[in-house]
């Protein structure tokens, strides 16, 4: 078939909400956009393990310790699904990891903020996972099959994590004066970065239109952000803590909450590398990778010895 015809088949499928699958023809830009988006998402899961892992050894009870450990482990699993989904588009995990470690690929900027108290673990679950879900639920209907299916599994676990995070905060808010202050402080620090997770305002987000056309994106950044603000407001009331925005007020006409202006300067600064933990997060990944090199080599060498005739695919799990 000529490219024009292929394009037509592709467009029809998108229009009719038929999933695009790995072996299907797809436009180069669609492939590139998705590889970038999925791998960025995968990297975010992996880097996102670090701020939470920071509290595993200091979790305040055995139950919380186990839950947090399981949560961080889930994120590693999400990273795996997503790397696999991206691999179906013709990029290897090694390539993606190299892009992350060399600083070429991005990951969600929110993970460049430090986790300073135990309440931050609650806030990350409630706000960061909450914002992630808001972004990701529509992705379960993304036009690319492997991505959409990965998102279904991920969203199920994320909403579990979000409830856990909320429950951590609820426990703190019902607790001592110091615990409640801890919760409020975490909200103060995580609120604005969470709003930034939805990306720039629609009028400064040039790729949105194309992504919407491709049904990789279903709602605009500002729509999702608004939805998030509305939901969080109610939840903050249940917790009895205050969102740190004095412009936050119910707008009867819009039937939405109005809210203050985001500090886009900070947003772009952190993306550029100037966040409190950018260097450390990357350094931690690089160091895990480098310290693991001899281990991966040994595993590969052993696998080759024991199965000299098998195709290289067998060693999949030791490559990275």
């Amino acid at each position: 078939m000529a490219t024009e015809e292929l394009q037509k088949v592709f467009d029809d499928k998108i229009a009719e909400e038929i999933r695009i699958e790995p072996k299907d023809w797809m436009p180069d830009d669609y492939r590139k956009t998705l590889i970038r988006q999925i791998s960025q998402h995968a990297h975010s899961e992996i880097v996102g393990m670090l701020p939470e892992a920071n509290w595993i050894t200091r979790a305040p009870s055995l139950r919380r310790k186990a839950t947090l450990l399981a949560k961080v482990q889930d994120e590693a699993g999400h990273g795996l699904y997503l790397y696999s989904a991206a691999e179906t588009m013709g990029i290897t995990r090694e390539e993606m990891v190299d892009q992350l470690l060399s600083g070429k690929a991005k990951y969600s900027s929110i993970f460049n903020y430090p986790t300073l108290t135990w309440a931050d673990i609650g806030a990350i679950g409630w706000l960061v996972d909450g914002a992630a879900i808001m972004n990701q639920v529509p992705l379960c209907r993304a036009s690319y099959g492997p991505y959409a299916r990965a998102m279904v599994r991920i969203c199920k676990e994320e909403s579990f994590h979000q409830r856990q995070g909320f429950e951590i905060l609820l426990t703190l808010c019902k607790g001592s004066k110091e615990q409640k202050e801890m919760a409020q402080d975490a909200l103060n620090r995580w609120w604005w970065p969470s709003l930034m997770m939805f990306g720039p305002n629609d009028d400064t987000s040039p790729h949105t239109a194309q992504s919407m056309k491709w049904k990789i994106k279903r709602f605009s950044n500002d729509e999702l952000r608004q939805k998030f603000v509305d939901v969080c407001n109610e939840q903050a009331d249940i917790l009895g803590i205050t969102i740190p925005d004095d412009k936050l007020v119910w707008n009867e006409k819009r039937q939405h909450y109005d809210f203050g202006e985001i500090n886009w300067n900070e947003f772009f600064n952190v993306i550029k590398g100037n966040g409190p933990c950018n260097k450390e997060r990357l350094a931690a990944r690089v160091s895990a990778h480098e310290n693991g090199e001899w281990v991966r080599e040994a595993a590969l060498a052993y696998a080759r010895k024991k199965a000299p005739k098998s195709p290289s695919g067998e060693f999949e799990s030791f490559r990275n």
Partner: protein, 252 residues
Amino acid sequence: MENNLFNYTLHLADNSLTMGHRLSEWTGHGPMLEQDIAISNIALDLIGQSRNFYQYAAALKDDSVTEDLLAYLRDAREFKNLLITEIPNGDWAKTIMKLFLFSTYQFCFYQKLIDSSDKQLAAIAEKSLKEVTYHVRWSSEWVIRLGDGTEESNKRIKLAMEEVWPFTGEMFQPAEYESLLINNRISVDVSEIKNDWMGRVKSVLEEATLSYPEDKNTWMQTGGKNGIHTEHLGYLLAEMQFLQRAYPGCEW
């Protein structure tokens, strides 16, 4: 008797907790994603085991005692874990070697504890045995892979072996609280599982092209079961217990 059972249960709980805690330090820092997940999973199993034992120990005391009180409000001299569970992780080879030798011990041990006359201990052992069977398999595979992998990995796993080996003797020396429970068939006579353990360890080491250390001449570390630890445990607990210590009497 009562107190011996309490101490014995704590010993078992402390073993699993400190080992699980150490393994959880790898989470987010593993040499590859699949193994980061695997080792976190084992950590999770061990923390789960410790909770079962702590809850049982707490139940032996009055209502004011909880699993968290036992885990978070005892100082190092009261911890009864084997030293092998508290020593630092080192590199992947040392972590694997620690886990292999310890899991094999737990495997042999739980196989006996399921016959304990104490129904609760027997039940926890049975549940744990399934998990530990996997831990032994996973860590054995890694010992073999590293031993029979590259020159570098062989060198590292050998060094790990030398470093960890002196911490295995203690496994088979009963503490007093442990000995006193043997007659009632509550506790396992650990001296009796040594041969089983040696056989299993030997066969894995052989496959890994490593030799079994000539045990008789090796001096062995001891003390953990009676609260005489290495200098590392204090730091581990300072970190682990911080919140419970800094904000006493809170719900979390």
